[in-house]
Amino acid sequence: MPSTQTPPIAGAAIDPPSLRPPIEDAVIERVEPAQLRSRLEALKAEGFAMLLDVGAVDYLQRKPRFDVVYHLLKLPAQKATVAQVGSPPRMRLLCGVEEGEPLRSVMDLWKSADWAEREIYDLFGIAFEGHDDLRRIQMPHDWVGHPLRKDYPMRGPARERAPRPSFANKSNVVAGTPPSGRTIEALQEEVKRAREQ
């Protein structure tokens, strides 16, 4: 597929999260798709009441190809003062998914997952089983392809230009009757008759 996206340099990392420098932004955990649902359920029971975000990354050359990333925040699910909130722990759950492999939806655990999962389905083509309403969210409903995948061209797929019908130039006219129902011959005949009168 032709792409204007720069091809990866030979030295580029294939699995960047495994090489991350020691930055303390969250507790990071990697889970298998089969354990994802039970792990998230356990985390919710532990007090991670807010699912901040679900995102995805396409590591084209890696196996498994995609990472679905869950950002969780341990907020009390009730009224709380600044002191009670404090500096709530953050948790990041990474789940590697192969192309075509569906994940279990967590929409019933956190309502915030609804649009986030729809967006991943729309832009990456990762399906979520158990989602009530899995349809495209950002792209038009009849769009083909998943734009945030790395093999999707940066400027969109090249589209065939529809030929512009022109009756002035005979060679441009495709064989068959035009929408008006008047063929070029009929038109020329009409013009000829008009001139003769």
Binding site: T4, L19, P21, L52, D53, A77, T81, V82
Partner: protein, 406 residues
């Protein structure tokens, strides 16, 4: 992929059993952008509301993958177009963490960043308050709000060179020092703002019509808010005092003295009061930042691998010229890794999950858009309310569609 007509969730059962489906937007003036809401209504009552987004999807995340780390910031600023500096700062902080230069950002740059963040918060809340007022029929407040916003944008233009998207915050510090005469103009503005905020308060806070339209409308319980991932003033209006500035201080917010205003009522009026109080707190922070700005100092990191060398050295030093050429023609490289960085934007927790594979372009930038999650809560709070109150609810959640759709 199947394309099918809008399904409506049968959560809320209509009382008469006689409902109709009505599409509100995407050209409706009080949807603050291009939002379509597919409503199922029973006479005037909303049974279900399903916001349909994506009309402003411009593929910013995809575009950023094709740009250098510095260039990507120009498109990122266009996500939340009412608070461009919040986006820029969040992105810059994330990249700085990956580069490992967080500790080396000059103090003056950090002070100016705080100043910018609070000025943008004021400017953004001005737009929210003005348009929220117009939605409810209070026209005059709009002009007062936009007058104040113009003053702030003038300052923004003076420092960054552009009114809307200054691109002033850069990875490593700032684009340049504050221009001459900026501080005098800032002083004049600081003098003006408190009086102006009192006027804004006076126009709406005790207005019986405004209170009638907002009190007990769009009730969002704290449990519901957290379920939907609501953050920012909308969450604090429900009594949860979560603010990224206090919870995980960045750019030295822990050295400033300010409070996190909260309300317990959880209705549109509470969210209105929280934002007004927040504007007062922003002024407090701006005053403190102003006092620290008297001492001059560098505003960009002293590292020519990331920052452009000073212009005057380019003609004299071969090395400076090479660094300049390399930075302009191929940008800098960021070590491989991933990072999540959050800041408190005027709308809530704005987060960037940034992945670098060691190249001179970001591999992936995933935004955690606060507006998107806040707007999603509309599904939970709209049912049972009147259609006319839907406008109040959208206004009180303060979505920005550049950010919802990206």
């Amino acid at each position: 992929m199947t394309v099918y007509a809008k399904p409506l969730s049968p959560d809320v059962v209509s009382q008469s059993g006689n409902t109709m489906v009505l599409s509100m937007g995407p050209q409706h003036p009080s949807t603050h952008g291009v939002l379509q809401i597919v409503l199922e209504i029973d006479s005037e009552n909303v049974v279900t509301a399903d916001p349909e987004i994506g009309y402003l999807h411009t593929g910013i995340e995809k575009t950023a993958e094709g740009l250098f780390w510095t260039q990507a910031q120009t498109v990122i600023e266009r996500m939340d177009y009412l608070a461009p500096s919040s986006n820029a700062l969040c992105y810059a902080l994330g990249v700085e963490k990956l580069l490992g230069i967080t500790e080396r950002i000059p103090p003056r740059a950090q002070i100016v960043r705080v100043l910018l963040m609070e000025l943008t918060r004021l400017a953004s809340h001005c737009v929210w308050l003005g348009t929220h007022g117009i939605d409810l029929g209070a026209i005059s407040i709009f002009f007062y709000c936009f007058d104040l916003r113009e003053n702030i944008l003038d300052l923004q233009e003076a420092s960054g060179g552009a009114r809307m998207h200054p691109n002033y915050v850069r990875v490593g510090g700032l684009n340049g020092d504050l221009p001459e005469g900026y501080l005098a103009r800032l002083d004049a503005l600081i003098e003006k703002i408190p009086g102006r905020l009192r006027e804004l308060r006076g126009l709406l806070q005790a207005n019986p019509i405004f209170q009638d339209r907002t009190i007990d409308v769009g009730y969002l319980s704290p449990e519901q808010a957290i379920q939907y991932g609501v953050t920012g003033p909308s969450l604090r209006g429900s009594g949860v005092a979560y603010d990224v500035r206090k919870a995980y201080p960045y750019t030295g917010y822990d050295t400033y003295d300010f409070e996190i205003p909260t309300r317990e009522e959880g209705d549109a009026y509470a969210r209105f009061l929280v934002r007004l109080d927040e504007m007062d707190q922003s002024v407090r922070i701006i005053e403190q930042a102003r006092k620290r700005l008297d001492t001059p100092g560098p505003v960009m990191i002293d590292d020519t691998k990331v920052a452009l060398p000073p212009k005057e050295t380019i003609a004299l030093s071969m090395e400076a010229l090479i660094h300049h050429f390399k930075l302009i023609s191929e940008g800098f490289r960021v070590p491989p890794g991933d990072v999540y960085q959050a800041v408190e934007s005027p709308r809530g927790e704005l987060g960037y999950y940034i992945v670098s594979n060691g190249e001179n372009r970001p591999y992936r930038i995933r935004t955690r858009p606060p507006s998107m999650y806040n707007l999603q809560a509309l599904k939970g709070i709209a049912p049972g309310n009147l259609i006319a109150d839907l406008v109040v609810m959208i206004g009180s959640l303060d979505p920005v569609f550049g950010e919802v759709d990206r």
